[in-house]
Protein backbone atom coordinates (compact mmCIF):
# COMPACT_ATOMS: atom_id res chain seq x y z
CA UNK A 1 0.00 0.00 0.00
CA UNK A 2 1.27 3.48 -0.90
CA UNK A 3 0.54 6.76 0.84
CA UNK A 4 -1.42 8.70 -1.77
CA UNK A 5 0.63 11.90 -1.45
CA UNK A 6 3.88 9.94 -1.80
CA UNK A 7 2.54 8.15 -4.87
CA UNK A 8 1.56 11.53 -6.35
CA UNK A 9 4.98 13.01 -5.60
CA UNK A 10 6.55 10.23 -7.67
CA UNK A 11 4.18 11.05 -10.55
CA UNK A 12 5.04 14.74 -10.20
CA UNK A 13 8.76 13.93 -10.58
CA UNK A 14 8.14 12.00 -13.81
CA UNK A 15 5.61 14.42 -15.30
CA UNK A 16 6.74 16.44 -18.30
CA UNK A 17 3.97 18.10 -20.31
CA UNK A 18 1.09 15.72 -19.65
CA UNK A 19 -2.44 16.90 -18.98
CA UNK A 20 -3.50 15.54 -15.59
CA UNK A 21 -7.22 15.13 -14.88
CA UNK A 22 -7.77 14.60 -11.16
CA UNK A 23 -10.86 14.01 -9.04
CA UNK A 24 -11.76 14.35 -5.38
CA UNK A 25 -9.04 13.43 -2.84
CA UNK A 26 -6.38 12.89 -5.49
CA UNK A 27 -7.24 16.30 -6.93
CA UNK A 28 -7.11 17.98 -3.52
CA UNK A 29 -3.62 16.54 -2.98
CA UNK A 30 -2.43 17.03 -6.56
CA UNK A 31 -3.09 20.78 -6.79
CA UNK A 32 -0.75 21.24 -3.80
CA UNK A 33 1.88 18.69 -4.83
CA UNK A 34 2.11 19.54 -8.54
CA UNK A 35 0.56 22.92 -9.36
CA UNK A 36 0.27 23.42 -13.10
CA UNK A 37 -1.98 25.15 -15.60
CA UNK A 38 -2.37 21.75 -17.25
CA UNK A 39 -4.14 20.29 -14.22
CA UNK A 40 -7.80 19.71 -15.08
CA UNK A 41 -9.99 19.35 -12.01
CA UNK A 42 -13.22 20.85 -13.34
CA UNK A 43 -15.16 17.61 -13.51
CA UNK A 44 -18.37 18.95 -11.97
CA UNK A 45 -20.01 15.69 -10.88
CA UNK A 46 -18.81 12.46 -9.29
CA UNK A 47 -17.69 9.77 -11.71
CA UNK A 48 -17.11 12.08 -14.64
CA UNK A 49 -13.30 12.41 -14.59
CA UNK A 50 -12.60 9.64 -17.09
CA UNK A 51 -15.15 11.08 -19.53
CA UNK A 52 -13.71 14.61 -19.37
CA UNK A 53 -10.32 13.03 -19.97
CA UNK A 54 -11.58 11.16 -23.01
CA UNK A 55 -12.77 14.43 -24.53
CA UNK A 56 -9.37 15.98 -23.89
CA UNK A 57 -7.53 12.96 -25.30
CA UNK A 58 -9.61 12.90 -28.47
CA UNK A 59 -9.37 16.65 -28.89
CA UNK A 60 -5.61 16.74 -28.37
CA UNK A 61 -4.16 13.43 -29.60
CA UNK A 62 -0.69 15.01 -29.52
CA UNK A 63 -0.85 15.39 -25.71
CA UNK A 64 -0.76 12.56 -23.20
CA UNK A 65 -3.66 12.61 -20.74
CA UNK A 66 -3.27 11.06 -17.28
CA UNK A 67 -6.42 10.56 -15.23
CA UNK A 68 -6.26 10.29 -11.44
CA UNK A 69 -9.63 8.63 -10.91
CA UNK A 70 -11.06 7.25 -7.69
CA UNK A 71 -12.38 3.73 -7.16
CA UNK A 72 -15.79 4.98 -6.01
CA UNK A 73 -15.80 7.48 -8.85
CA UNK A 74 -15.04 4.89 -11.50
CA UNK A 75 -17.72 2.57 -10.11
CA UNK A 76 -20.17 5.39 -10.78
CA UNK A 77 -19.16 5.50 -14.45
CA UNK A 78 -18.09 1.95 -15.30
CA UNK A 79 -19.51 2.24 -18.80
CA UNK A 80 -16.77 4.77 -19.51
CA UNK A 81 -14.29 1.87 -19.59
CA UNK A 82 -16.11 0.47 -22.63
CA UNK A 83 -16.50 3.91 -24.21
CA UNK A 84 -12.79 4.64 -23.75
CA UNK A 85 -11.70 1.24 -25.03
CA UNK A 86 -13.93 1.66 -28.09
CA UNK A 87 -12.57 5.14 -28.82
CA UNK A 88 -9.07 3.72 -28.22
CA UNK A 89 -7.08 6.90 -27.56
CA UNK A 90 -3.39 5.97 -27.57
CA UNK A 91 -2.60 8.97 -25.36
CA UNK A 92 -4.76 7.85 -22.43
CA UNK A 93 -3.42 6.68 -19.05
CA UNK A 94 -6.22 5.89 -16.61
CA UNK A 95 -4.95 5.69 -13.03
CA UNK A 96 -7.37 4.52 -10.36
CA UNK A 97 -6.46 5.50 -6.82
CA UNK A 98 -7.91 2.48 -5.08
CA UNK A 99 -8.36 3.15 -1.37
CA UNK A 100 -11.44 0.97 -0.93
CA UNK A 101 -13.65 3.77 0.34
CA UNK A 102 -15.71 6.78 -0.64
CA UNK A 103 -13.13 8.83 1.24
CA UNK A 104 -14.53 12.28 0.50
CA UNK A 105 -18.03 11.23 1.52
CA UNK A 106 -17.18 9.83 4.93
CA UNK A 107 -14.85 6.90 4.22
CA UNK A 108 -17.67 4.38 3.77
CA UNK A 109 -16.32 1.22 2.07
CA UNK A 110 -17.02 0.75 -1.62
CA UNK A 111 -18.99 -2.39 -2.60
CA UNK A 112 -16.18 -4.75 -3.58
CA UNK A 113 -17.14 -8.00 -1.91
CA UNK A 114 -17.52 -9.72 -5.27
CA UNK A 115 -13.74 -9.61 -5.59
CA UNK A 116 -13.57 -7.92 -8.97
CA UNK A 117 -10.46 -5.98 -10.01
CA UNK A 118 -10.35 -2.72 -11.92
CA UNK A 119 -7.61 -4.16 -14.11
CA UNK A 120 -9.84 -7.13 -14.92
CA UNK A 121 -12.74 -4.85 -15.81
CA UNK A 122 -10.47 -2.74 -18.00
CA UNK A 123 -9.03 -5.77 -19.79
CA UNK A 124 -12.51 -7.14 -20.46
CA UNK A 125 -13.58 -3.72 -21.72
CA UNK A 126 -10.69 -3.72 -24.19
CA UNK A 127 -7.95 -1.52 -22.71
CA UNK A 128 -4.59 -2.08 -24.39
CA UNK A 129 -2.77 -2.84 -21.14
CA UNK A 130 -3.16 -2.76 -17.36
CA UNK A 131 -0.86 -2.49 -14.36
CA UNK A 132 -1.18 -2.73 -10.60
CA UNK A 133 1.21 -1.04 -8.17
CA UNK A 134 1.18 -1.30 -4.41
CA UNK A 135 4.64 0.08 -3.61
CA UNK A 136 6.51 3.25 -4.47
CA UNK A 137 9.63 1.53 -5.79
CA UNK A 138 7.81 -0.34 -8.56
CA UNK A 139 5.67 2.69 -9.36
CA UNK A 140 8.77 4.88 -9.67
CA UNK A 141 10.68 2.31 -11.73
CA UNK A 142 7.90 1.70 -14.28
CA UNK A 143 6.41 5.16 -14.64
CA UNK A 144 8.60 6.54 -17.43
CA UNK A 145 7.89 3.53 -19.63
CA UNK A 146 4.23 3.49 -18.80
CA UNK A 147 3.81 7.17 -19.69
CA UNK A 148 5.16 6.50 -23.18
CA UNK A 149 3.19 3.34 -23.87
CA UNK A 150 0.28 3.26 -26.35
CA UNK A 151 -3.02 3.39 -24.49
CA UNK A 152 -5.58 3.23 -23.29
CA UNK A 153 -3.88 1.88 -20.17
CA UNK A 154 -5.44 1.35 -16.76
CA UNK A 155 -3.18 1.57 -13.71
CA UNK A 156 -4.57 0.35 -10.39
CA UNK A 157 -2.78 2.19 -7.57
CA UNK A 158 -3.27 0.70 -4.13
CA UNK A 159 -3.27 3.73 -1.85
CA UNK A 160 -4.18 4.91 1.61
CA UNK A 161 -4.48 8.46 2.94
CA UNK A 162 -1.18 10.22 3.49
CA UNK A 163 -0.55 13.80 4.50
CA UNK A 164 -3.82 15.68 4.83
CA UNK A 165 -3.91 18.58 2.36
CA UNK A 166 -6.56 21.28 2.80
CA UNK A 167 -9.68 20.76 0.72
CA UNK A 168 -10.42 23.50 -1.78
CA UNK A 169 -13.50 22.64 -3.82
CA UNK A 170 -13.93 26.20 -5.18
CA UNK A 171 -10.43 25.88 -6.72
CA UNK A 172 -11.18 22.43 -8.13
CA UNK A 173 -14.29 23.66 -9.95
CA UNK A 174 -13.10 27.18 -10.76
CA UNK A 175 -14.15 28.25 -14.25
CA UNK A 176 -11.38 30.86 -14.18
CA UNK A 177 -8.81 28.09 -13.81
CA UNK A 178 -10.63 26.10 -16.52
CA UNK A 179 -10.36 29.07 -18.89
CA UNK A 180 -6.66 29.37 -18.09
CA UNK A 181 -6.20 25.64 -18.68
CA UNK A 182 -7.88 26.05 -22.07
CA UNK A 183 -5.65 28.97 -23.04
CA UNK A 184 -2.44 27.29 -21.93
CA UNK A 185 -3.37 24.05 -23.67
CA UNK A 186 -4.11 25.90 -26.90
CA UNK A 187 -0.65 27.46 -26.74
CA UNK A 188 1.17 24.22 -25.96
Amino acid sequence: MMKRDEMLKVLARHRTDEIVVAVYKAAQDWIHIAPSDLNYTFTGAMGQGSSHALGLALGRPDKRVVVLDGDGSLLMNLGSLVTIANAAPKNFVHCVCENGTYETNGAVPIPTHSGFTFTGLAREAGYANTYTFDNLEDWDRNLDTLLKEDGPILVDLKVEPGEDYPENFPRLYSTEHRDRFRKVLAES
Binding site: G44, S51, L58, T83
Partner: protein, 173 residues
Protein backbone atom coordinates in the same frame (compact mmCIF):
# COMPACT_ATOMS: atom_id res chain seq x y z
CA UNK B 1 -51.64 19.94 -37.96
CA UNK B 2 -48.37 18.50 -39.24
CA UNK B 3 -48.66 16.52 -42.46
CA UNK B 4 -47.47 12.99 -43.15
CA UNK B 5 -45.98 13.77 -46.54
CA UNK B 6 -42.20 13.83 -46.67
CA UNK B 7 -42.45 17.34 -48.12
CA UNK B 8 -43.86 18.48 -44.79
CA UNK B 9 -41.13 16.83 -42.75
CA UNK B 10 -37.77 18.07 -41.54
CA UNK B 11 -35.02 16.67 -43.76
CA UNK B 12 -32.11 14.88 -42.11
CA UNK B 13 -29.73 16.24 -44.74
CA UNK B 14 -30.77 19.81 -43.88
CA UNK B 15 -30.25 19.18 -40.17
CA UNK B 16 -26.82 17.67 -40.79
CA UNK B 17 -25.89 20.59 -43.04
CA UNK B 18 -26.71 23.04 -40.24
CA UNK B 19 -24.77 21.02 -37.69
CA UNK B 20 -21.74 21.27 -39.97
CA UNK B 21 -22.36 24.99 -40.51
CA UNK B 22 -22.22 25.37 -36.73
CA UNK B 23 -18.63 24.15 -36.81
CA UNK B 24 -19.33 20.83 -35.16
CA UNK B 25 -17.13 17.88 -36.08
CA UNK B 26 -17.35 15.70 -32.97
CA UNK B 27 -20.64 13.89 -32.42
CA UNK B 28 -21.07 12.19 -29.05
CA UNK B 29 -24.05 9.88 -29.17
CA UNK B 30 -26.27 7.23 -27.77
CA UNK B 31 -28.82 5.88 -30.24
CA UNK B 32 -32.11 7.76 -30.15
CA UNK B 33 -35.04 6.37 -32.11
CA UNK B 34 -35.94 9.82 -33.44
CA UNK B 35 -32.55 10.42 -35.03
CA UNK B 36 -30.76 7.05 -35.26
CA UNK B 37 -31.82 5.98 -38.72
CA UNK B 38 -31.45 9.13 -40.76
CA UNK B 39 -29.14 11.37 -38.73
CA UNK B 40 -26.76 9.31 -36.57
CA UNK B 41 -26.18 6.54 -39.11
CA UNK B 42 -25.48 9.15 -41.78
CA UNK B 43 -23.03 10.91 -39.47
CA UNK B 44 -21.19 7.67 -38.70
CA UNK B 45 -20.60 7.25 -42.46
CA UNK B 46 -19.69 10.91 -42.99
CA UNK B 47 -15.91 11.55 -42.94
CA UNK B 48 -16.56 15.13 -41.82
CA UNK B 49 -17.61 13.81 -38.41
CA UNK B 50 -15.86 11.87 -35.68
CA UNK B 51 -18.56 9.97 -33.81
CA UNK B 52 -17.90 8.92 -30.23
CA UNK B 53 -20.40 6.34 -29.06
CA UNK B 54 -21.03 6.36 -25.32
CA UNK B 55 -22.63 3.87 -22.95
CA UNK B 56 -24.56 6.46 -20.96
CA UNK B 57 -25.54 10.03 -21.69
CA UNK B 58 -23.84 11.67 -18.70
CA UNK B 59 -20.51 10.51 -20.13
CA UNK B 60 -21.37 12.55 -23.18
CA UNK B 61 -21.88 15.74 -21.18
CA UNK B 62 -18.34 15.40 -19.84
CA UNK B 63 -16.76 14.31 -23.12
CA UNK B 64 -18.21 17.41 -24.80
CA UNK B 65 -16.76 19.51 -21.97
CA UNK B 66 -13.33 17.93 -22.37
CA UNK B 67 -13.51 18.57 -26.11
CA UNK B 68 -14.39 22.21 -25.42
CA UNK B 69 -11.36 22.53 -23.15
CA UNK B 70 -9.28 21.08 -25.99
CA UNK B 71 -10.65 23.66 -28.42
CA UNK B 72 -13.34 21.70 -30.28
CA UNK B 73 -17.06 22.04 -30.84
CA UNK B 74 -19.24 18.98 -30.33
CA UNK B 75 -22.84 17.85 -30.25
CA UNK B 76 -24.40 15.38 -27.81
CA UNK B 77 -27.11 13.37 -29.54
CA UNK B 78 -29.50 11.52 -27.25
CA UNK B 79 -33.08 10.62 -26.44
CA UNK B 80 -35.10 12.68 -23.94
CA UNK B 81 -34.87 9.75 -21.51
CA UNK B 82 -31.09 10.15 -21.61
CA UNK B 83 -31.41 13.82 -20.83
CA UNK B 84 -33.53 12.96 -17.80
CA UNK B 85 -30.95 10.38 -16.75
CA UNK B 86 -28.13 12.93 -17.03
CA UNK B 87 -29.61 15.77 -15.02
CA UNK B 88 -26.88 15.86 -12.36
CA UNK B 89 -24.09 15.96 -14.94
CA UNK B 90 -25.94 18.64 -16.90
CA UNK B 91 -26.34 20.56 -13.64
CA UNK B 92 -22.77 20.27 -12.37
CA UNK B 93 -20.71 19.95 -15.54
CA UNK B 94 -22.63 22.00 -18.09
CA UNK B 95 -24.54 24.68 -16.15
CA UNK B 96 -22.40 25.30 -13.07
CA UNK B 97 -19.20 24.38 -14.91
CA UNK B 98 -20.11 26.84 -17.69
CA UNK B 99 -19.48 24.37 -20.47
CA UNK B 100 -21.16 24.92 -23.84
CA UNK B 101 -22.66 21.45 -24.06
CA UNK B 102 -24.91 21.40 -27.14
CA UNK B 103 -27.56 18.72 -26.78
CA UNK B 104 -29.78 17.45 -29.58
CA UNK B 105 -32.58 15.58 -27.90
CA UNK B 106 -34.98 13.22 -29.63
CA UNK B 107 -38.52 13.57 -28.32
CA UNK B 108 -39.49 9.95 -28.84
CA UNK B 109 -43.21 9.40 -29.57
CA UNK B 110 -44.16 13.06 -29.34
CA UNK B 111 -47.31 13.71 -31.29
CA UNK B 112 -46.45 15.56 -34.57
CA UNK B 113 -47.16 19.27 -34.39
CA UNK B 114 -48.04 19.19 -30.71
CA UNK B 115 -45.89 21.32 -28.35
CA UNK B 116 -43.98 19.10 -25.91
CA UNK B 117 -45.76 20.66 -22.92
CA UNK B 118 -49.09 19.57 -24.41
CA UNK B 119 -48.07 15.99 -25.18
CA UNK B 120 -50.14 13.18 -23.72
CA UNK B 121 -46.90 11.62 -22.54
CA UNK B 122 -45.73 12.63 -19.07
CA UNK B 123 -42.04 12.16 -19.86
CA UNK B 124 -42.27 14.59 -22.76
CA UNK B 125 -44.43 17.18 -20.97
CA UNK B 126 -41.86 17.65 -18.23
CA UNK B 127 -38.82 18.26 -20.46
CA UNK B 128 -39.25 21.97 -21.12
CA UNK B 129 -40.27 22.81 -17.52
CA UNK B 130 -37.16 21.00 -16.27
CA UNK B 131 -34.94 22.87 -18.74
CA UNK B 132 -36.61 26.13 -17.68
CA UNK B 133 -35.99 25.33 -14.01
CA UNK B 134 -32.34 24.66 -14.83
CA UNK B 135 -32.17 27.90 -16.85
CA UNK B 136 -31.13 26.01 -19.96
CA UNK B 137 -32.03 27.56 -23.29
CA UNK B 138 -34.03 25.22 -25.51
CA UNK B 139 -35.42 25.20 -29.02
CA UNK B 140 -38.02 23.06 -30.74
CA UNK B 141 -36.90 21.70 -34.09
CA UNK B 142 -39.57 19.79 -35.98
CA UNK B 143 -40.98 21.46 -39.09
CA UNK B 144 -38.98 22.12 -42.26
CA UNK B 145 -37.03 25.35 -41.80
CA UNK B 146 -36.66 25.00 -38.03
CA UNK B 147 -33.20 23.54 -38.62
CA UNK B 148 -32.22 27.19 -39.05
CA UNK B 149 -32.22 27.42 -35.26
CA UNK B 150 -29.14 25.18 -34.96
CA UNK B 151 -26.37 27.62 -35.92
CA UNK B 152 -27.51 30.54 -33.74
CA UNK B 153 -28.19 28.19 -30.83
CA UNK B 154 -24.70 26.69 -31.01
CA UNK B 155 -23.04 30.07 -31.52
CA UNK B 156 -24.82 31.47 -28.49
CA UNK B 157 -23.88 28.46 -26.34
CA UNK B 158 -20.19 28.91 -27.13
CA UNK B 159 -20.33 32.69 -26.79
CA UNK B 160 -22.14 32.60 -23.43
CA UNK B 161 -20.55 29.37 -22.12
CA UNK B 162 -23.85 27.73 -21.40
CA UNK B 163 -25.54 24.51 -22.48
CA UNK B 164 -28.37 24.45 -25.00
CA UNK B 165 -30.99 21.82 -25.79
CA UNK B 166 -32.38 21.38 -29.29
CA UNK B 167 -35.49 19.24 -29.07
CA UNK B 168 -36.16 17.18 -32.18
CA UNK B 169 -39.93 16.76 -32.25
CA UNK B 170 -40.27 14.22 -35.04
CA UNK B 171 -38.05 11.83 -36.95
CA UNK B 172 -36.31 13.69 -39.79
CA UNK B 173 -36.65 11.99 -43.18
Amino acid sequence: MAGDNDADRLKARDLIREIKRAGIRFIVALPDRTTSENVLKAMIKDPDFQVVQVCKEDEGVSICSGLYAAGHRSLLLMQYTGLLDSINAVRGVAVQGKNPVCMMVGMLQKEPGVPPTESKRYGLRIIEPILDAMQIEHHNIEAPGTEDKVVPAVERAYAELMPVAMLIGREPV
